[in-house]
């Protein structure tokens, strides 16, 4: 019985986040055919192999379907030989002693020799009933020789059978091999496309979607697609071939028996359908309560200290019990009802089996059927149910496959960063560091402009500070500068060239960044430092490290530059990581700098060190600084004051203080006493 156990046992279920789709409840795609078609498109390059797969599955199935009939032939042979033997023995027992029959005497001859009426035509030999068809053969039996097993005949069938078995297995395996090749390659391609996509999409998408969501598409969804794609393709062919083949074989044995057996199919199909639709309801409910429960657990655990401090265990506990009991109720029902399926199918199948046995028995007695045929037929009956159940399963698998594929495609269909320049665009080199904002308007959401009409002109080497309360949109300016976003109207110019006419890569090349969130990747310190300039020499590297005050960190590490930075490594502190990112920016040597709250995650004494390093880095470069501590930016050449996403004041520290506006208030509040 091929492909029965591979859905649960062989498959490694990827760990899903708690409370997501689980077993039982089927994940339904929105556009089954559309997405399905597109998924099939991915298999197009392999169409030859796919056809081969289908042919091989069909051959393998036909071979395996044919074998019970052959096996039945063996049983028939045995039965016949057995009956012959019994006849022979019966006759010899009754022959008067001393009577010798001439060689080659058949039963027919014997009967002619016998006085009429001595043996009735309905006679039985040793309790063995003989049908008319067998009688014909028996009457020709040479009763002078003791009949034995026709080993040669049985052997011939057996050899055919062995060939069938082996060939079927080989075809099956070959098919699986080819299929694996196809599906793994499709998965490879999907993953690759996803990765490419990540790197070509506008940041906008990621600012509004969770990383976990994207990651789950790369791992779980692609996994689901690749795992079940193969299942779907081969199982549909297998099931169809198997059902058709089995029915044909059954018909070839006996039509009316086949009819009886086939009646059970719609009956069990209806029964299964009823059960499934009923249990689906509970599975859905189970899924929902599981989500609630897991959400509750997550919330209580992460707020554990609050629950403790406020002594609200009774309240949260009651809620937990409520969800937990609900889950119990829906989940045992779901499980029980879906568990009924098998016994019911079994019952219906077995009733069919009994009917076949009784009717078949009658036919054998009447001589319309042989025992071997019954044996074969019973095997076919038991083979028939399985592919039907499987086929109904496949539709579920197909749905979740397509749903997973849909999530993958949805991501792949997101818009890429658009090309805003015409032709080859312009290329800027040896940038001095002029930055001009001309009447820039910008909105994250259409209709909700947050930068209304911003103008500013920055000369090379100047320091521009962006200040404002938390959530004032300070990063927006950076996003625009680096073309992570483009303004709705107005222009931003680098060295007097509109950045929209320059490729994004060329624009970004002009900036060095040190952000609040120190991003370093899994790799050695050296690889990380060289990230912005892979061709830097060791001397360059050492100079940058020294300038960034990062020497002591690297010296303190056992493997120095070759120390591997790990996700969870504690060997480098947050402040030290920041110094490393400053080194990285130093080495990249871009003409314009962006420093975004680079010291906010660090304690105050490390901060001083970082401040020094940043001052060094800013020397001779145009820089944009976002700072939460206003004292550090008092010497800025231009201060942009932001609130609620908009730039509300601009000027130097002194001019802004004189205005006694928002900035002055902000500045003073730092030192305001309670």
């Amino acid at each position: 019985m091929p492909s029965q156990n591979n859905s649960e046992s062989n498959r490694r279920q990827p760990a899903r986040p708690a409370g997501h789709r689980g077993r039982g409840a089927v994940d339904k795609p929105r556009d089954f055919w559309g997405t399905g078609k597109r998924l099939i498109g991915y298999m197009k390059p392999y169409w030859k192999q796919l056809i081969a797969v289908m042919i091989m599955v069909a051959i393998s199935t036909v071979l395996s379907v044919a074998s019970p009939k052959l096996l039945g032939n063996i049983t028939n042979q045995i039965t016949n030989d057995y009956i012959d033997l019994k006849v022979y023995e019966a006759i010899h027992d009754r022959l008067p002693k001393g009577v010798n029959l001439p060689d080659g005497t058949t039963l027919e001859d014997l009967q002619k020799m016998m006085p009429a009426g001595a043996n009735g035509s309905q006679q039985k030999y040793e309790n063995v009933s003989i049908s008319d068809s067998q009688r014909e053969r028996i009457t020709k039996l040479d009763i002078t020789k003791r009949p034995g097993l026709h080993v040669d005949a049985i052997g011939r069938i057996a050899i055919t059978l062995i060939i069938f078995y082996v060939a079927s297995a080989i075809f099956y395996y070959a098919e699986a091999w080819v299929e694996t090749n196809i599906t793994q390659r499709v998965a490879y391609r999907l993953r690759r496309q996803l990765s490419d996509k990540i790197n070509s999409m506008p940041l906008d998408y990621f600012d509004h979607h969770e990383f976990g969501d994207v990651m789950s598409r790369i791992t779980n969804d692609v996994d689901t697609v690749s795992q079940s794609l193969s299942q779907v393709v081969s199982e549909v062919v297998y099931c169809l071939a198997s059902i058709i083949g089995t029915v044909i074989m059954m018909l070839s044995i006996n039509a009316s028996l086949t009819l009886v057996a086939l009646v059970t199919i719609p009956v069990s199909a209806i029964a299964v359908g009823l059960i499934v639709s009923h249990s689906q309801k509970y599975f859905k409910k189970q899924q929902d309560t599981l989500g609630d429960l897991n959400g509750h657990i997550e919330e209580v655990y992460s707020g554990h200290n609050v629950v403790k401090i406020f002594a609200t265990e009774a309240k949260t506990g009651a809620r937990f019990n409520y969800y937990n009991n609900n889950l119990y109720k829906s989940s045992w029902r779901a499980r029980f009802i879906s568990g009924i399926t098998f016994p019911i199918i079994n019952l219906i199948g077995n009733i069919g089996y009994a009917a076949v046995a009784v009717m078949g028995g009658r036919m054998v007695i009447d001589g319309r059927l042989s025992i071997g045929d019954i044996q074969a037929f019973i095997q076919y009956v038991s083979r028939l149910n399985q592919p039907i159940v499987q086929l109904s399963n496949v539709t579920n698998v197909a749905q979740s496959t397509v749903a997973a594929a849909e999530r993958v495609f949805e991501f792949l269909d997101e818009k890429d960063e658009i090309v805003t320049w015409e032709g080859d665009g312009e290329i800027i080199e040896n940038v001095q560091g002029y930055v001009d904002f001309d009447h820039v308007k910008f909105s994250y959401q259409k209709g909700k402009p947050i930068i209304h009409d911003f103008c500013a002109h920055v000369k090379p080497g100047q320091k521009v500070a962006i200040v404002g309360p938390t959530g004032a949109g300070k990063t927006t300016v950076i996003n625009l500068l680096m073309r992570f976003y483009d303004p709705d109207s107005g222009t931003i110019k680098l060295d007097h060239v509109d950045t929209k006419k320059i490729s994004r890569a060329n624009v970004r090349k002009q900036f060095g960044m040190v952000l609040q969130d120190t991003w370093l990747f899994h790799g050695t310190i050296k690889e990380n430092l060289l990230y912005g300039k892979p061709d830097a020499t060791d001397d360059d590297l050492k100079r940058a490290v020294k300038a960034a005050r990062a020497e002591h960190i690297i010296r303190a590490l056992p493997k120095g530059y070759n120390t591997i930075l790990d996700e969870n490594a504690d060997n480098v502190s947050a402040g030290e990581k920041q110094l490393l990112t400053i080194t990285r920016a130093m080495l990249a040597n871009a003409p314009i700098l962006i420093l975004d709250e680079a010291t906010s995650n660090v304690d105050t004494r490390t901060e001083e060190l970082i401040q020094d390093a940043m001052d060094e880095l800013m020397k001779g470069r145009t820089s944009f600084v976002i700072a939460h501590r206003l004292s550090t930016i008092r010497d800025a050449d231009l201060i942009l004051v932001m609130n609620h996403g908009d730039i509300i004041e601009t000027g130097t520290h002194d001019s802004l203080m004189k205005q006694s506006g928002f900035y002055a208030k902000l500045y003073n509040s730092q030192f305001e006493a309670a």
Binding site: N5, S64, T75, Y173, Y301, F310, P343, L347
Partner: protein
């Protein structure tokens, strides 16, 4: 396993009914063989009918048994899961911070959800299949033995072949399975890195490098995937072959025996059925053997939680707080060492603070200042010394009393799903709307007014629909609303900008003047007006006094101040403190610093 105990009689029923199911399944082939032997061969139609009905009855009984067994199994399985989950939840709820830290919150969450789920799944599976398979295997072997003892060896041989096949496939594939798991982790890591570093990657124009990194893992994962599939694909055709050859062998050997009258034809057919049943049962057993170790990991992770002793225990005979010492917080030579740590984070801390006073605790990261806050709420127990609240040792106060006395605002603001009102009224539902508004007002949570639903605005799970600063202010309002004697702010102002911070403190001083206030912070400007500032450094008290006293006397404090003020400001501060430091002289402009 004690969680299964209440279900013992249901489990017995499951076993009993499963036995019934197995018995009927095994009876069928022998009925069939009777039909062949005594009915068909002898042409006894009545007998065939009689046996036919018998078959229907048996199979009906079998299905009924299966359904009943399934009924109890699903109840036991899910009931067990429910109890286990509740047990784990109760246990975790009682944990102190020490245990939370040891396990980490996210790990506890996965253990209470995924691991429990996994165990429940396996429990159910065992109940249905692990009970059935051995019964079936034994029954089928016995029946087969009864039918044709001399052919049992065929069965044994095919079972052995099957086991060899399955085990060797798993032996070959297992290391690759592990590799696959590692590669999945690597894939996750690479893509997470790519996502978190998008801005940096693009700033350096290194998209290509990231794609390459990803693709290396992608290629490896595809390769291992191919290998694993190629190996495991052997299983199915292999098993089919074993089954086929077994039937063929039965017929081949059986033929001779039939001729010698050692075996009836019907029995030969029954024997074929039995061998099939034996083989499938063993297959099930193999699957269980694969599944159980996987669940075993989960079991271990769960028992680890259940067997953990709580380090903070409720007192057996709690004392009542001393009314005459309301709001008094005393640290008496407190030393605290984290479990598993070698040196203490807090060493001999000693201070007293009373209602109407503000005590500030300042120090750099890792100086142990948050631990002080946690000790006041008894999230940990002291290693040595004593923390007293209202004149009573914390360890003698009931957990409810402590909660009543202390209002705590944790460093990381956590809200719960519900509404703004339900969050502010979190401590007690009977807090009046007026008290709620007042608390929100003091906490500077004026953004509530701008929300379309005001106080009835929905708060998503963990407050994810509010910004850090908003959450923080709601957490502050929540603590104030319950009207405690002592308010503890654990670095709670860091998510607020300086202006909001200042306003909040002003309101606090004005409207909550009867409270004992303890502020833990890194910002000097936050605590300049505190009655007493305790400077922590490397676990010990480096200084104690007011802002100006400390500027004068405490080296560590001065260093912290220097790093936060500009030179001119610092000079001004020092001047006010009465320190005539060198740099104080050349600072003339202190006008920018305004004092209330």
């Amino acid at each position: 396993m004690k969680f299964l105990a209440p279900y013992w009689w249901q489990i017995l029923l499951v076993i009993a009914f499963t036995y019934g199911e197995v018995w009927t399944t095994l009876e069928l082939p022998s009925v069939m063989s009777d039909i062949v032997n005594k009915g068909i061969i002898t042409g006894d139609m009545d007998y065939i009918y009689q046996r036919g009905w018998f078959m229907v009855i048996i199979t009906a009984l079998g299905s009924l048994s299966a359904i009943i067994a399934g009924f109890f199994a699903s109840r036991v399985g899910t009931g067990f899961g429910r109890d286990l989950r509740a047990g784990v939840y109760k246990k975790v709820e009682g944990f102190s911070l020490a245990e939370m830290r040891r396990f980490s919150t996210s790990s506890l969450i996965t253990r209470s959800t995924n691991d429990v789920e996994q165990i429940q799944q396996v429990a159910f599976f065992i109940m249905r299949i692990a009970v059935r398979a051995p019964l079936m295997a034994i029954g089928a072997i016995l029946s087969a033995f009864r039918t044709a003892p001399s052919m049992t060896w065929i069965m044994v041989l095919s079972v052995i072949t099957l086991l060899v096949l399955v085990i060797s496939v798993f032996m070959i594939a297992m290391p690759k399975f592990q590799l696959q798991q590692k590669l999945v982790d690597a894939l996750n890591q690479v893509s997470r890195e790519n996502l978190t570093g998008l801005r940096v990657i693009r700033a350096f124009n290194n998209e290509k490098i990231e794609k390459q990194k990803f693709n290396e893992v992608n290629r490896d994962i595809t390769k291992t995937g191919l290998f694993i599939n190629r190996i495991t694909n052997i299983l199915e055709p292999g098993m089919t072959m074993i089954i086929s050859f077994t039937t063929l062998a039965v017929v081949w050997i059986g033929a001779g025996m039939v001729m010698d009258d050692k075996l009836e034809i019907g029995n030969m057919m029954a024997f074929m059925q039995y061998s099939l049943q034996v083989i499938t049962s063993f297959l099930m057993l193999v699957i269980i053997m694969v599944m159980v170790p996987r669940a075993h990991v989960s079991v271990e992770r769960i028992s680890e939680i259940l067997e953990t002793d709580n380090s903070v225990r409720e007192p057996k005979n709690p004392q009542k707080p001393d009314e005459s010492k309301r709001g008094l917080v005393e640290f008496k030579h407190v030393t605290f060492t984290y479990p598993d740590a070698e040196s203490p984070v807090l060493n001999d801390i000693d201070f007293v603070t009373k209602p109407g006073e503000t005590t500030a605790i300042i120090g750099s990261t890792g100086s142990g200042k948050s631990t002080v806050a946690n000790l006041i709420s008894r999230l940990y127990d002291v290693t040595a010394g004593q923390v007293r609240l209202d004149g009573v040792d914390l360890r003698s106060l009931s957990h409810r009393d402590i909660a009543k006395i202390v209002g705590f605002v944790p460093q990381k603001a956590v809200l719960f799903s519900g509404t703004i009102a339900s969050n502010i009224k979190y401590a007690r539902a009977d807090i009046t709307d007026e008290a709620m508004r007042r608390a929100a007002d003091i906490a500077q949570a004026d953004f509530i007014k701008d929300l379309p639903d005001g106080y009835r605005a929905q708060v998503a799970r963990s407050g994810s629909n509010f910004s850090g600063g908003q959450k923080q202010r709601l957490a502050i309002a929540r603590a104030i609303a319950k009207d405690p004697e002592v308010l503890v702010f654990d670095d709670s102002f860091s998510a607020l900008d300086y202006r909001t911070d200042a306003r909040l403190r002003r309101e606090l001083a004005k409207r909550e003047s009867d409270k004992t206030i303890i502020i833990i912070t890194q910002r000097i400007s936050t605590i300049r007006e505190a009655n007493q500032i305790i400077v922590l450094n490397d676990g010990g008290v480096a200084g104690k006094g007011t802002h100006y006293e400390l500027l004068k006397s405490c080296e560590v404090y001065r260093e912290i101040a220097e790093s936060q003020f500009s030179e001119e400001e610092m000079a001004g501060e020092l001047k006010l403190a009465g320190v005539s430091a060198d740099n104080a002289s050349d600072a003339s402009n202190t006008g920018e610093v305004k004092y209330a």
